[in-house]
């Protein structure tokens, strides 16, 4: 697949702090590229350098074959972005904000086109309301409408689920999938909510202290043989007894407190389901833990040790 973003040896030094250190990665055309790291890992600094908001101390960034610093206007015509909070002009309406940023992007949109843009993010009914009356999730959607106003090939979303309620998080997830699958955009999305990245990303980069820890396909990083499953039962004491006397004893991870937790291959989950019924364990919920999260914690903690 063709590279659309190529970053080589990117470094940003703030006085004595090296926020990003010799970072190199590539994003392929059509990727949903998950950019993972703990708070302060250097994700936002890297994305801001991709958007010319911060000048790199060292390194090069190429977007669609063009050097970012030499051709920044041309490059930015191909990128739409929401960086951290979706801050727009609160004293303007959603319609006026989209119209204003469309002009800034060099695009003249008709009233119908602006309304279509707002309809795409579900805000057509609130088009003429001032943004100051909007919830955080709605502001995030205005931000996305603005990011897409010039129909960019690349969409960069920095922590897009920050401060959102579960419905807002689900909306953003669906929006990312829509951008990728239906509109064929390349999406770079950063988050520390690993479960969210896991559900949308095709490729993943994990950074820590400004350095690359790992980059690869999400499928490869996700190891199905080490899926963690937490059981919520009506009677945990009874559930532990039953599981310890069954073939699942070897898969049990936790001591006899809290909910039973098992480590197993993902393909064995249907069998576990059947056996729980056969063992008369009243199951309230089964929560597969995200292996990518475990992976992330494992490699970042290894980096600290």
């Amino acid at each position: 697949m063709q590279n659309i973003i190529s970053v080589k040896g990117l470094t940003k030094q703030f006085h004595n702090l090296t926020a990003v250190n010799q970072l190199s990665f590539t994003v392929n055309n059509g990727d949903v590229y998950g950019f993972l790291g703990q708070n302060g890992a250097g994700k936002s600094t890297t994305l801001r350098m991709l958007l010319t908001l911060i000048e790199p101390t060292e390194g090069s960034i190429e977007v669609a074959g063009m050097d970012l610093l030499k051709h920044h206007k041309e490059v930015l015509r191909n990128i739409g972005a929401v960086i951290e909070k979706p801050d727009v002009y609160k004293y303007l309406s959603a319609y006026e904000n989209v119209q204003l940023f469309a002009k800034l992007s060099g695009v003249r949109l008709s009233k119908e086109q602006i309304m279509q843009q707002l309809a795409m993010v579900g805000l057509q009914d609130r088009a003429n309301d001032k943004v100051k009356t909007f919830s955080q999730g709605m502001k995030q959607r205005v931000g996305i409408a603005i990011a897409l106003v010039h129909n960019p090939q690349i969409v960069i979303l920095d922590e897009p689920t920050n401060g959102l309620d579960p419905q807002g998080i689900a909306d953003i997830r669906n929006m990312i999938l829509h951008l990728s699958r239906d509109l064929k955009k390349t999406v770079v999305v950063s988050s520390h909510l690993l479960s969210e990245i896991e559900q949308v990303a095709t490729r993943v980069l994990i950074i820590d202290k400004g350095k690359k820890l790992v980059e690869g396909n999400a499928d490869e990083l996700f190891d199905p043989s080490e899926t963690i499953v937490e059981l919520e039962t009506a009677n945990n004491h009874f559930a532990f007894n039953q599981l310890e006397q069954s073939n699942w004893n070897n898969y049990l991870l936790r001591e006899r407190k809290g909910n039973p937790v098992l480590k197993l291959n993902k393909k064995d989950i249907p069998q576990l389901h059947k056996d729980l019924v056969a063992l008369n364990i009243e199951l309230i919920a089964m929560q597969p833990k995200h292996s990518l999260e475990d992976y992330f914690l494992r490699i970042t903690s290894a980096n600290y040790s």
């Binding site: 801001r48 958007l51 010319t52 908001l53 911060i54 000048e55 920044h72 206007k73 041309e74 930015l76 015509r77 990128i79 739409g80 972005a81 929401v82 960086i83 951290e84 909070k85 801050d87 727009v88 002009y89 609160k90 004293y91 303007l92 006026e96 204003l100 940023f101 002009k103 800034l104 992007s105 060099g106 931000g143 603005i146």
Partner: protein, 291 residues
């Protein structure tokens, strides 16, 4: 560039804060006009107290031209604060709202962006002065009528014929615009370094107060720097109302006593504007947007 300027003006005039300055100016001018309308004669007697025995004055002392001069003298000290309200917000306000990072992810050049912002602040400043001119000059002319203008300076009095006044006001307002643009440029420059508008407003007013004190103090130590301080030159608009006299001590219509002062002050102010705006461009182009 023109689109950027249009957008900046649109944002300025969509904000309620913009109209505070216009409302404040209106209130101040109306208060002064009301006071002079009601007690104008007492005011004139007070101003002319030392000269009454030496002069015989016929005609209306308190006329529209005189009232406008009084208003400008009182108001031009305070207008910088009203200009700072907007100019200080041009960059720091965007940083504070978080919109700066969104703006700069769009395909625009930083130099064009900063120039469009300064031009928008400059247009706002000029509109504010036009508003002052409309209220202070034209409304005063309507309310108080017109006559020759009689001004009392430190050691002498000046009488300017009615037909010789209007162009002087045009010149004075143009010069005042230059002085206020200098304030806007300073405030705009300081706006680069802050993430809310309070800092640049306070810093600008502090610079103006300190340099005004330095400009007016007669201490030899400060005399060498006085010619380079923009506050020394901001009051040169008054020179338009000093008229040349002939050997018979008669005023010469259409003349200004110290035209060279006006030219020199204009050059100093323009240099300050260019320096402040140029420095803003340099700083902003290198600025890392972390807000």
């Amino acid at each position: 560039m023109f689109t950027l300027l249009q957008i900046e003006l649109y944002k300025i005039f969509k904000r309620p804060r913009t109209y505070i300055a216009f409302a404040a100016i209106t209130a101040l001018i109306v208060i002064i006009q009301l006071g002079l309308k009601v007690d104008g004669k007492e005011y004139a007697d007070f101003v002319l107290a030392d000269m009454k025995n030496m002069l015989e004055i016929n005609g209306k002392i308190i006329n529209g031209y005189f009232v406008c001069y009084v208003i400008l003298q009182l108001l031009l000290i305070h207008v910088p604060l009203l200009i700072a309200l907007i100019a200080a917000d041009m960059i720091s306000g965007e940083a504070n709202m978080g919109t700066l990072r969104l703006l700069l992810t769009k395909p625009i050049s930083r130099t064009e962006f900063i120039m469009a912002k300064f031009l928008a602040a400059a247009i706002y400043t000029i509109l504010l002065l036009i508003w002052i001119a409309v209220l202070a000059l034209f409304v005063s002319m309507l309310v108080f009528g017109t006559d020759d203008m009689f001004l009392v300076k430190n050691a002498y009095a000046v009488q300017i014929e009615r037909a010789d006044i209007f162009w002087r006001y045009a010149g004075a307002f143009c010069f005042a615009a230059l002085a206020m643009l200098t304030v806007a440029a300073l405030c705009f420059f300081l706006s680069n370094f802050a993430e809310n508008s309070i800092g640049p407003i306070v810093a600008t007013m502090s610079v103006i107060i300190v340099t005004t004190i330095l400009s007016t103090m007669s201490i030899p130590l400060f005399n060498t720097i006085k010619p380079f301080l923009f506050t020394t030159h901001m009051v040169a608009w008054k020179e338009f109302f000093d008229i040349k006299v002939n050997d018979a001590n008669e005023t010469i219509k259409g003349t200004v006593e110290h035209a060279d002062k006006i030219i020199r002050s204009s050059i100093v102010l323009v240099v300050h504007i260019v320096l402040f705006v140029g420095a803003s461009v340099v700083v902003f182009k290198k600025k890392d947007v972390l807000s």
